[in-house]
């Protein structure tokens, strides 16, 4: 972890575990879900001397990968020194592609990015959490949760052949898009089909791309209410996928849109793996804390509602949840009020921004094809250093003064 000095200071004031070490029936924190949000919560809490159990429903942490795997360098570097073991490709540029095929090379500035190897990345964080003292279990499904009673919530676990109860001072719901645990606590996490981006992705080999750049195709034909991404994973390999608003998927499936896109743009590609999934693009759930519960990552709709990128926000939320739990438990508290600071911190770091993004989302993702072509031509005419996302958004929203005002607030 970076920020070692900061962590050391915190360790001195670390919470005294309220539960007996080695006790597998009760924990200071039980984390449901072993993705980046859950593992960061477990790692952070373990570092702050809480007793932690993290359960993952699947048998393998990090698998199946339901993700395009792109992150920005700055975002990832605040947590870990980038390591070639879990980085598939380094990104130094990107292209926006219009429906007529116009490719606009964009200025990435110094904000380089990475395409991760999520299977290895997720496992790295989970292993680190375990090595720092968290108990990690795979193949364990949290199937029910009690109300807070006598200072604990009781989570009912189901393994391959057995069931048992675990008591938790604090529960972290990092259980992804379906987020059962948040719902058990009475929080509203269900999404309308319009705000659910339904996605299909193929990892393709034998393709010809600039493997240090990613591509975003905006086209109503292949990705209505969304976009197509090409994220390189190696010299001739890339994650090629798309997300469309659930309201468009009634007529044609994301997998069908993707097959059509591949036939048109990458006819020689060999598909080496396929995946599907959904991203809740609401800009965030209204309430992400309850008594003895915090909701992290996809479960709290923390992905950017325009791009669908959610890894870094998920990790930040996990860290905040771990810190909040340690602070509250140290004071002997785990009620909703004592955990409310978690939501405040998430809001100021990325939540407010995501709500603004949500307001401009419709104006961005539903631009007709001919207008997308015009925008691409306008941006192409600019010198490279002026081809920034803000400039593109401004062009995209120029005929929509109301949203342009929102954009101004977003940027300045």
């Amino acid at each position: 972890m970076k920020n070692d000095t900061k962590k050391e200071n915190k360790l001195e004031n670390a919470a005294i575990p309220l539960t007996e070490p080695g006790d597998m029936d009760s924990f200071d924190m039980v984390v449901i879900g072993g993705g980046p949000a859950g593992s960061m919560a477990a790692l952070t809490a373990a570092d702050l001397r809480l007793s932690v159990l993290m359960v993952e429903r699947d048998h393998i942490i990090g698998s199946p990968v339901r993700c395009a795997e792109g992150v920005d360098k700055k975002g990832i570097s605040q947590f870990f020194t980038p390591d070639p073991k879990w980085i598939a490709a380094e990104i130094t540029g990107y292209y926006l592609v219009a429906p007529d095929g116009t490719r606009v090379k964009m200025d990435i500035g110094l904000e380089h990015g990475y395409i991760l190897e999520r299977m290895l990345f997720d496992r790295m964080i989970a292993e680190k959490a375990a090595n720092h003292g968290a108990a990690v279990m795979t193949g364990v499904d949290a199937v029910a949760m009690s109300e807070l009673s006598d200072g604990f919530r009781t989570v009912h676990m189901k393994g391959t052949d057995s069931e048992w109860d675990v008591k938790a001072r604090v529960v972290v719901a990092a259980d992804g898009v379906e987020s059962r645990a948040a719902r058990w606590a009475g929080l509203k996490t269900s999404v309308t089909p319009y705000d659910m981006e339904t996605c299909a992705q193929a990892t393709c080999a034998a393709i010809d791309i600039d493997h240090h750049a990613f591509y975003m195709y905006f086209t109503g034909e292949f990705a209505p209410g969304g976009y197509v991404w090409v994220f390189p994973k190696g010299p001739h390999t890339a994650n090629i996928g798309l997300g469309i608003s659930g309201t468009y998927a009634k007529k044609k499936l994301p997998t069908e849109y993707l097959d059509d896109f591949l036939t048109n743009y990458f006819p020689g590609a060999s598909v080496v793996s396929r995946t599907v999934g959904g991203i809740a693009c609401t800009g965030g759930i209204k309430k992400m804390v309850a008594d003895a519960l915090m909701v992290c990552g996809d479960a709290a709709h923390m992905a950017n509602p325009i791009t669908g990128g959610g890894i870094i926000n998920a990790m930040i939320s996990g860290q905040f949840a771990g810190e909040t739990a340690a602070d509250a438990l140290k004071k002997g508290r785990n009620d909703e009020r004592s955990l409310a600071v978690y939501q405040k911190r998430c809001d100021s770091r990325f939540g407010k921004m995501n709500r603004w993004f949500y307001r401009v989302k419709e104006g961005i993702l539903n631009i007709p094809n001919d207008r997308l072509n015009e925008i691409a031509h306008e941006i192409s005419a600019l010198p490279l250093e002026k081809r920034t996302p803000v400039r593109v958004l401004r062009s995209a929203l120029i005929k929509n003064p109301k949203l342009l005002t929102v954009l101004a607030k977003l940027v300045f």
Binding site: R57, D141, G176, V177, S190, V191, A249, T255, T275, V276
Partner: protein
């Protein structure tokens, strides 16, 4: 009622994310639809990326 074609389903949980009444329960390798809770609002069908969910009367 809503039925899931398990030969198509990838257990990605997208359907459960839109279910307004928590009628869809995901386990490791299968989904279960609680027909007594289900309102047949069809939200799940519209977001399924592989077309595994169908209304069956």
């Amino acid at each position: 009622m809503i039925k899931c074609d398990t030969s198509l389903c990838d257990v990605c949980s997208t359907c459960a994310g839109v279910c307004p009444v928590d009628a869809i329960i995901i386990s490791r390798d299968t989904i279960h639809i609680d027909q007594e809770v289900c309102d047949i609002c069809l939200a799940c069908i519209s977001v399924c990326p592989v077309g595994a969910l169908k209304e069956d009367n």
